[in-house]
Amino acid sequence: MSQSATWGRVAAKDWREYRRDWRLALLSLLVAVLAVTAVVAAFVEVTAHDADRRATIAADRVTWEGQGARNPHSAAHFAFWAFRPLPPMALLDPGVLPYAGSAIWLEAHNRNPAQARPAEDLAGGLDLGRFSAAWVFQTVLPLLLFIIGAGLVAREREAGTLRLMLANGLAAGGVMPAKYLALGRIAAVLVLPLLAAALAATLLAGPVDGLALALWLAVYLVYFAILAAIAVAVSALAATAAQARLLLVGLWLVLLLIVPRLGGGLAMQAAPVPSAHGFAAGVAAQMKSGHDPFGKDGKAFEAAVMARYKVSRLEDLPVNIDGLRLEAAEQHGNRVFDAAWGDLAATHQAGRNALRLTALLSPLVPLQNLSMALAGSDGAVQRDFQDRAEAHRRRIISLLNADMALHAGAAGFDYHADPALWRRIPDFRWQPPGTAAALARCWPDLAALGLWLLAALGLLRLAGRRLAAGLQ
C-alpha cells in the first residue's frame, strides 16, 4: 500500500473517531450555529445599512434641492452629508467599520470627523471582539481545531495504538503528515460549509471582486494550515492528551486573545492620539491665527483683489468681494485641516506600524490586517473615504463660494442664488481603492503570515522527528 493511501486510512480513522465523540460533535454544532448566526446578522446589517444609506441620500437630495432661493453661503452651512457604503465583503469581515463613523457632515469652515459609529450602539456585554463571520473563523474555530487536534497523536501514544499503526505499514516518519492530513480533513468538513454559507450571503449582498474574495479565502487557508500544524505538533510533543489540550488552549489564549490586545494597547501608548477637544481647540487656534480676510487681513485682501482686477474701488469690482473672502478663508482652513488631519493620519499609521510588530508573536495580527484589507474594511480604506469626502466638501464649498462671488454683486450676503444652483451640485460618490492597493499596503502582513507558516511546518517536522525517534 502506498504511503499516501496509508495516510488516507489514518485520516479516515480519525474522522470516524471525531464523528463518534459526541462532545466534539456538539462543540462543532455550536460553532456552526454561531457562524451561521454571524452570517445572518451581518447580512441583515449590511443590507439594512445600504438601504438606509440610499434612503437618507435620496431624502437629503430632496431637502437640498428643495431649499428654495437662499444665499449660497447659507446653503454651504447646511451643505451635505457623505455616507460610506459598506463593501459586500464587510459581511465576511467588518474590520474597523464598527469603530469608525460612516457619516461625515460636509459643511463650510470645518472638516468634521466621521460620525455614527455602530460600536456606540452595541449592546453592552462581554467584548471579545466584534461578532462576525471573520471573528468566528479567526477566534472560535481555531479553539475548536486545537481541541480536536490535541488528542490526535497524544491519545494514540497513550493508548499504545501508534505502534500498531506502524505495524500496519505506516512509516514512523509518516505519522505526522498522516495526522496533519487527518486534522485538515476534519477542519475542511467544519470550515467549508460555513465558508460556503458566508460566501453565498456575501454574493447576495452585492457584487464582489473575485480576486479579493479568492485571496481572502487563500489567507484563511494559510491561517488554518498554520494552526493545524501547531495543533498536531503540540499533540506529538506533549506527554498526554490532557497536557496537549491545555497547552493548546493556553497557546490559543496567548496567541489569539492576549497578543492582539497587547499589540493594540502598546500601539495606543506608542502613538497616542490627541483628545477630541485638544484636536478641535488646536485647529480652532490655527484657524484664528492665520489669514483672516474678514478681520485683520481684510484691508490687505481688498487691496490685493482690487489690484488683481485693476480697479480702485470695491464697488467697481466685477465680483463680490465677500464671495472671494469666503473662498480665501476656506483655502486657509484647508491648509490647517491638511496639517492637523495629516498629523492624525501619521499618528494612526504609527500605531498600525507598532501593532505590526506583534505580527511576529501571533498569526492573528497579520491575518486580521489582510482579511480586512481584502474585505475593504480596514483603516486605510476608511481614511480614503474620509479624504475623498473632504475633497468633495472642498469642491462643493468652492462652487458655492464661486457662485456668490460671480453673482452676488452688491447684494452680498442678501443675495439669493437660483435654486438651479442646488441641482448643479454633485452628489458624493466614492469608489474604494482596489485589491492591488490592499496588497501593496499589506505585503508585510503577507510576509509575516508566510513566516508563520514556515515556522509551524518546521515545528511539525521537528515534532515528527522526535516522535519517530521515540518510536524506533
Binding site: 462532545r23 431637502t63 462581554l126 495606543m268 497616542p272 492620539v273
Partner: protein
C-alpha cells in the same frame, strides 16, 4: 488522619503545586496579563483625565474671556449677542474604576458644551479620534483578565485534581493518606485558588493604593473585587463539579474548556447577536435626515449660522438671534422624538440582554464589573440623557436672556444652570447574589457527587 494533620496536607499540596511547572506557567501568564492590564488601565485613565481636563480648560478659558469682555464693557450691538457666545461645560464624570473595566465609556464622547445652538444630536459632536484599527482588536483590562484569562488558568490548575490520580490508579492511596476526599480537595483547592485570586486581589489593592482619589473609587473597588471573586469562585465550583464526575483528566479538561468556551465565547456572542437581530435600533441616519430637513424648512435666508455677522445694528442682531433661537428650537423639536425613541429602544434592548445574561455568567459578570467601575452601558446612557436634558435647559435659559431687552451680565452667567451628573448606578448586588447562588449550586452538586465517589 487527625485534624491537627490537616495543615500539613495543605502545606504538602501547596509545595507540590509550587514545584510544578504548570503552576509557574500559570503564574507567569497571569502576572504578565495583569501587568499589561494595569499598564493599559493606567494609560486609559490618564487619557480620560487629560481629555476632560482639556475640555474643561478650553471652556473655562472661553468663560473667562466672556466675563472679561462683560466686565470691560462693550457696545450694545455686541452685548445683545452674548447669549450666543455662552458655552457651558458638560463633562462626563470619570468612571471611578475605568482603569479596571473600560466598558462602554472608552467609546463615548466625554465632554460637550451646552449653548444656545446646542441640540441633543450635536452636544457630543467631537467624538474620539482613536485609531479604529486598534479599537477593533479589543482591550486588555483587568476585567478581561478576570473573565477570560483567570478561568482558563483555574481550569488548567484544577481539571485533574481527582481524575489525574484516578487515571494513574493512585486515587485510593492518595485518599487514604489524605483522610478523605473533602479534605484532599480542600487542600488542593486552596493553593490553586490562592495562586489565581492572589495576584488579582493584589492588583486591585495596587489600584486602590496608587490610583487617583476619585469619588466612589473605594466602593467601586470593593464591589468590583466582590464580583471578580464570586465569578472565579463560580468557575472553581464548576471545576470541582467536573472533578466529581467519573471522567479522565483529558475528558475533564475537555469538558471544562468546552464550558468556558460556551459561557464566555459562544453564549455572549450569540445572545447579543440574537437580541440585536430581534430588536434593531432606529437608524442614526434618520436623525441626520430629520435634522437637515427641519433646519432647511425653518430657514430661508442668511439668518442662522452667522447671526452676529448679519448686521452691526442692534435691532438686526436681535432679529437674527431670535431667528437662531427659533431655528434651533424647531430642529430640536423635530429630532427629539427620534432621539428619544432610539434611547428608549436601546435601553430596552440592554435590559433584555441583562436578563439573558443570567444564563451566561461571564456576560453577567462583565456587565456587573463595568457597572461597579461606572463604565457600563447604563451609566453612559444615564449621562447622555442627563446631558441632553441639561442642554435643553441651557438653551431655554439663554433664549429667554436673548429675548430680554437688557443685555446679559455676569450675574446672568452665574445663574445659568450647571450640569450635575446623574447619581452613580447602584452596586451590582443582584449580579453578585446570582453568581454566588450559581457557585453554591455547583458546589453542592459537586459535594453530593463527591460523597458518592468510589476511589476505583
Amino acid at each position: 488522619m487527625s485534624v491537627a494533620a490537616q495543615p500539613s496536607l495543605l502545606a504538602l499540596e501547596s509545595r507540590f503545586l509550587w514545584r510544578s511547572r504548570l503552576a509557574l506557567a500559570v503564574l507567569a501568564v497571569l502576572v504578565a496579563a495583569i501587568g499589561l492590564a494595569l499598564a493599559n488601565g493606567r494609560a486609559l485613565l490618564a487619557a480620560q483625565q487629560a481629555s476632560r481636563a482639556a475640555a474643561t480648560a478650553e471652556l473655562a478659558e472661553a468663560d473667562t474671556r466672556l466675563r472679561a469682555g462683560i466686565a470691560k464693557g462693550m457696545p450694545l450691538a455686541d452685548a445683545v449677542m452674548l447669549p450666543i457666545r455662552v458655552r457651558l461645560p458638560v463633562i462626563a464624570p470619570l468612571p471611578p474604576l475605568i482603569d479596571a473595566s473600560a466598558g462602554q465609556a472608552v467609546l463615548m464622547a466625554d465632554a460637550g458644551a451646552a449653548s444656545l445652538r446646542t441640540r441633543a444630536d450635536t452636544l457630543f459632536g467631537r467624538s474620539s479620534l482613536e485609531n479604529p484599527e486598534l479599537l477593533m482588536r479589543g482591550g486588555l483590562d483587568l476585567g478581561f483578565v478576570v473573565l477570560v484569562v483567570a478561568p482558563l488558568l483555574l481550569v488548567a490548575l484544577g481539571h485533574g485534581m481527582i481524575p489525574a490520580d484516578r487515571d494513574s490508579g493512585a486515587l485510593r492511596l492518595v485518599l487514604a493518606q489524605g483522610g478523605g476526599i473533602g479534605r484532599l480537595l480542600l487542600a488542593r483547592s486552596l493553593p490553586r485558588l490562592a495562586l489565581v485570586l492572589g495576584p488579582v486581589l493584589l492588583a486591585l489593592l495596587w489600584l486602590g493604593l496608587s490610583g487617583p482619589d476619585l469619588p466612589g473609587r473605594a466602593g467601586a473597588l470593593l464591589w468590583w473585587g466582590l464580583i471578580a471573586v464570586a465569578s472565579l469562585i463560580l468557575w472553581w465550583a464548576l471545576v470541582l463539579l467536573v472533578n466529581s464526575l467519573r471522567a479522565s483528566a483529558d475528558a475533564a479538561a475537555l469538558a471544562l474548556v468546552a464550558l468556558w468556551a460556551l459561557f464566555t465565547l459562544v453564549l455572549p456572542a450569540l445572545l447579543t447577536a440574537l437580541v440585536s437581530l430581534a430588536l434593531p435600533l432606529p437608524s442614526r441616519y434618520a436623525v441626520i435626515a430629520q435634522a437637515r430637513a427641519a433646519e432647511v424648512a425653518a430657514t430661508a435666508a442668511w439668518d442662522n449660522d452667522h447671526a452676529e455677522a448679519s448686521s452691526d445694528e442692534v435691532a438686526s442682531r436681535r432679529a437674527a438671534l431670535a431667528r437662531t433661537v427659533e431655528v434651533t428650537g424647531k430642529v430640536a423639536a423635530a429630532t427629539a422624538p427620534i432621539i428619544a425613541d432610539h434611547a428608549r429602544r436601546r435601553a430596552g434592548r440592554q435590559a433584555i440582554l441583562d436578563q439573558l445574561a443570567l444564563i451566561a455568567p461571564p456576560m453577567l459578570a462583565a456587565q456587573a464589573l463595568a457597572q461597579a467601575a461606572g463604565s457600563d452601558a447604563g451609566s453612559v446612557a444615564a449621562f447622555q440623557s442627563a446631558a441632553s436634558a441639561h442642554a435643553g435647559q441651557v438653551r431655554a435659559r439663554l433664549a429667554a436672556l436673548a429675548a430680554r431687552p437688557a443685555p446679559m451680565g455676569s450675574a446672568d452667567l452665574d445663574h445659568l444652570p450647571r450640569f450635575t451628573p446623574p447619581a452613580p448606578a447602584a452596586p451590582p448586588r443582584a449580579a453578585l447574589a446570582w453568581l454566588l447562588a450559581l457557585a453554591g449550586l455547583a458546589g453542592l452538586a459537586a459535594a453530593r457527587n463527591l460523597n458518592r465517589l468510589q476511589p476505583d
